[in-house]
Symmetry: C2
Subunit: 124 residues, 2 copies
DNA sequence: CAGGATCCTCGAAGATACTG
DNA sequence: CAGTATCTTCGAGGATCCTG
């Protein structure tokens, strides 16, 4: 249990932590997941995701774009059409994200059960 | 690309999304990661993680405990000693979390590069 | 349609001090 | 040591309106 070994990153002020901050945010994860199935437009994403404001979605997309994970492609037309897609780099994030979402799906029940047990204790 | 297929969860108001909210937070991920190597005490965690306030750490631990991912074990003594460890359920989260952290580590460089390219454009 | 600009609020989180 | 309590600030994010 020696944390000074290499491989024990993610702690303190390492690049991995910085990088994690990019994606350790609810919307980023969900957006990447949603784009995992192919390019989507702003409105499509909003409908698919649900519960995200226009502002937050744009903000999240800009952030992901700024980090090279998402590409914005504007179709000249009137009214404008804008498509977002994962970049090659962004696509590599899909594995971990889906691993996470699979876990979330598989363990939703257990988590909620624990939550409820808590609630009951708290009520007593 | 049909989102109505099963397996396309994580969108809208599904249990997976609720569950994701539990862990889609910076500190939660890092704490789980840190506990992945064995039980740790409050102070140890604070030192290992770095940049987290006492308050936030306690809060995060309570949350994880409330969701059945972490167990709090108090050793009667003076001064009190408290150990935190992953529960069995919590340990199952280790896979996804490490998958994520490995990604973060491997792609830190690429991410930062994209970031910098952006910064330059913005400066111009 | 996509998204900038503005205004406003409310809660997340730091600082500080105290306790079992 | 491992917290709790209190106070305060600061910015994330919603609502609304406007534009190319």
């Amino acid at each position: 249990m020696d944390f000074s070994e290499p491989g024990d990153v993610l702690l303190a002020d390492c690049p991995a932590r910085t990088t994690l901050d990019v994606i350790a945010d609810k919307w980023a994860v969900v957006v990447v997941f949603a784009l995992g199935r192919g390019p989507r437009r702003h409105t499509e994403l909003r409908e698919l995701i649900g519960g995200v404001s226009k502002k937050m979605l744009t903000q999240t997309l800009r952030k992901l774009e700024g980090h090279g994970l998402v590409e914005r492609r504007e179709r000249p037309a009137a009214p404008v059409r804008v498509e977002y897609r994962l970049t090659e780099l962004g696509a590599t994030l899909l594995g971990p994200v889906e691993s996470l979402s699979r876990w979330a799906e598989d363990n939703a029940e257990g988590i909620l059960a624990a939550q409820d047990r808590r609630a009951e204790l708290h009520a007593a």
